[in-house]
């Protein structure tokens, strides 16, 4: 389970090795730049990022505040597009898709876990988990099955009728994980999933992510907490929008 940072595969690699690597590769960023222009000031949030993540891999992205972690994650999650560079997801170039196409891929191939849980306060736990499924042509029965399964996987099926405000922070994040799983995505993107939790709840959520990874899930997690970064197979260190180090490669 290895991944390479830039540059891409060497010329010396054999054809069969290459074919095998490509079949395992889930996503690839090539020379990705992201520039924000505000009031005539250009801010280079990401500069020349090369990144590959293989199926079943658990990658963490670490770095200080403002280093570009979340920008990178939003590009990976198709919430934003690179200014330049290429992004391949599941063998498809996705850097310049339309809004609708990106929404479609987000819904079917990506699961999000946010720092602040982002559960909808007016919806029950089950409704929140079902939310991404409502944007697909799934029967109510199928949706219900997936919701139940997802909640069982995170141990929250007994609270399915509760409102988020009736849950603790840790429980809310478990529900958010269930919501990410319900769509059976190719990859889970987690943005500081323990950032709003105390250490006990943080540990519990990380344990959950580790279990999911053990079951074969592909994860990419942004964190600034080195304790939790260690849960990953590989940690990529960002600084000023550049990859400055990689551990566990």
């Amino acid at each position: 389970m290895s991944a390479t940072l830039a540059p891409p595969a060497s010329k010396a690699a054999s054809t069969s090795d290459r074919a095998s690597a490509e079949s395992q590769r889930l996503l690839r960023l090539a020379d990705v730049h992201k520039v924000f222009t505000t009031e005539e000031v250009e801010t280079h949030a990401l500069s020349g990022i090369h990144l590959e993540i293989k199926r079943g891999e658990f990658v963490s992205i670490a770095g200080p505040s403002g280093c570009g972690k979340s920008t990178l994650l939003s590009i990976l999650g198709l919430l934003d597009a690179p200014t330049t560079g290429e992004y391949w997801l599941n063998d498809r170039a996705v850097q310049s898709l339309t809004f609708s196409e990106r929404a479609h891929i987000r819904n079917r191939q990506i699961g999000f876990i946010f720092q602040s849980f982002n559960l909808i306060g007016d919806l029950t736990v089950a409704d929140n988990v079902e939310l991404p499924l409502t944007y697909r042509d799934l029967s109510p029965g199928e949706r219900k099955r997936r919701v139940t399964e997802s909640l069982e996987r995170v141990g929250m099926s007994h609270r399915s009728r509760h409102l988020p405000s009736q849950l603790s922070g840790g429980q809310q994040q478990r529900v958010a994980v269930a919501r990410a799983l319900a769509g059976e995505p190719l990859i889970l993107l987690a943005d500081e999933p323990t950032g709003n939790l105390d250490s006990a709840n943080g540990e519990a959520v990380m344990g959950l992510l580790r279990d999911l990874h053990a079951q074969g899930a592909t994860l990419c997690m942004v964190t600034h907490d080195t304790r939790f970064a260690r849960y990953a197979d590989r940690t990529i260190q960002l600084f000023d929008g550049r990859v400055v180090a990689e551990e566990g490669a």
């Binding site: 999000f112 007016d122 944007y135 405000s165």
Partner: protein, 805 residues
Amino acid sequence: MDVLFQDLRFALRSLARTPGYTAVVIAVMALGIGINTMVFSMVYGVIYRPWPVAHPDRVFTVAQLEPKRNEDPFELSFMNLRDVRAHVPAFEQVGGWWNVQATVTIDREPEQLRAATVTYDLLPTIGWKPILGHGFTADDEIWGHNWIPVLISERIWRSRYHADPHIVGRPLRINGRTRTIVGVMPLKFRWPEDQDFWIPMGFNPADETRDSYAIRTVGRLAPGVTRAQAEAQVRTLMAGIARDNPKTSEGVQMSVRDINEDQVGSVAATMLLMLGSVVFVLMIACANVANLMLARATGRRREISLRLALGATRARVVRLLLTESLVVAVAGAAIGILLAHWGNRVWTSTIPFAMPMWLDLSIDTPVLLYTVGITAFAGIVFGLAPALHAGDMRLGEALRDGSAQAGSSRGRNRLRASLVVAEIALSLVLLVGAGLMMRSFVKRSELSHTVRTEGVFTSRVLLPIATYPQDADRTNFFHAVLGQIAALPGVRAVSMVSTLPLNRDNNTRRILAASDPHADAHNAPRTNFASCSPGYFSTIGIPLVEGRDFNANDGPHAPRVVIVSQATAHRLWPSGSAIGQRVKFAGQPDSVGWSTVVGVVGNVVQNVEEPGTDMNTFAPHDQEAFQFMSIVTQSSVPPADLAARIRRVIQSHDPDLALIDPLTMTDFLHYNLWLHRLFTGLFATFAIIALLIAGIGLYGVMAYSVAQRTQEIGLRMALGADRSAVLRLVVGQAMRLTVIGCGIGLASAYALTRVMAGILFEVSPNDPPTFIGVALILALSAALAAWLPARRATRVDPMVALRYE
């Protein structure tokens, strides 16, 4: 007091910080309070304002009625008025009047002005005196004496006589008689409406009958006497009269009535309905502003919780927010009063005649008291919910910059949604009311298609009894005049009729058929009656469906003939032909005898106010020589030229005659429908304002909701919702509220529009097309109001919404 000023200062500062919001809520309140003030000033002016008489609390009308016939109260005969004067001690004074047209020659050619024939004691009864000269005396009531004096208005005195101080004693030629001016009435006195001349009432004792009902009567109660006592006395008096005169007065009663009620009649119902409508508009405005204030209060949670944290009591916070809402309401009221003043000027400018003396639309103390009342009501109603919600805030939650607001915001959102639902429901009721009024007006306007209007010109001529006392005088005059008008170049046809179709006058008679031996004069059906010349039906475009038109052989000495409408023929002879049947009219002297039906014409509504009655009967003018006739001309001559030519023809016969109301038939119909047009226009205006306010309300709620749900929408997008899903989410939310509001509104409208049954014409109060059409219009407006916030929602950037770096 210091605390109050402090709250006021805070409120003003707080409102000044958000000028856009403040302007919107003040504008909405100004609209709501403004149209309420305007309509209340109308309703109060028409229905409730005391008449301009001395001791208005003691002045009442006396009317007669026949309960068995269930008809409107009617006027008194002169004999009965004299009996009231002599035998009802409850009244210290009694007077009467009827309106007449006055053809007056002052300093130019004859002109038509309004006059009233009044009893000598009318002026003291209502407490008015001339500013120059004197009023009438009892001697002026003697037949023959009453031909001499005349009182003129100050308006005429100033405009025509240049306020001549020696006016008293000067002669004035009016309705063919030269009278002597005995006095000048004050500028504000135009009794009963916009009269300029008053002549004394007198009756030839030989002509007096108990059932010549013509005189509107007022009596002033003696001090200390109650209306009930007067009522008992007039009832006793009338019972005696009926006992002594069974032939003319059997079943007739007498009653003391409120003077306003007697004057306003059926308009009162429409006006009260209008007041109800604008109260609805005010409620919609209140719901709207309450919604805006709730949104604002949500935005101020931190400020308010800080106040609470620093020791302010909840009552103090509630009072502060109520002060803000009252400030808004008072500012709205100030602008609303200006709007009402302007609105009154606009609608009164549509009245095609002078304002009657009794109609005063001033925005004075009683109207302002109403405005103050609704302003306080509105300020408290729309301020209370936000204030109570703010007072009920959970401090810890509000001060914490977190996301755990779901629980408390749910209640507020539900309240806001409920307010929008209420706005939609109220708007729908108003729109249905306006829609019904419009459909009714269109139906009434379509009546004009039943007569010819193209190229038809009408004008009226009044032949004074003084100079045209005999029937032959009148028939000779009109024969000569019609012959000359027919010879004018461009004139294709000319004829005349005593009452034009689609008029606002009532001239009905009870008709008895010889074929029905059991016909009873008291219970016989009523028919509109008109006298006309040969050729009238073809000129005005009423089809002759059976028999013949009148002709020159139907002269005064020929057998009496009539032409009836199909409705009359069907009512009297449902199974056979009307031609050859004989009829007579209740109350006609026996010497007149029966009239034979020689023709049947198409149905035409004679009175636009009573469009359900198209039973009409016509007699030839040679046999019913009315003095007041409308000349109907069909020509290609421009109206102004034709009027001048007809005037020349008439004045070549009698220089004292005026050509009255020269109008094209189209203008005539337009004139007669003005009241319906006004009411329909006002209802439509109120409904559009309501729709606009409700639309703004829905827009506000949806815009607020989108702003409040930015994070949620961003999340949904992150989870895969595309733009159409977001659009559906927002518009769907609005449409859910709209459907609930429409459902409640339709049910309420179904129940409430029944009160409109009496004022609608050929439209059911539960007219399905109106209900469905209005619901669709409202739904479309709601979709439009939700569209803009929904579009904004689709542009939410998920990254920003989710607060990424």
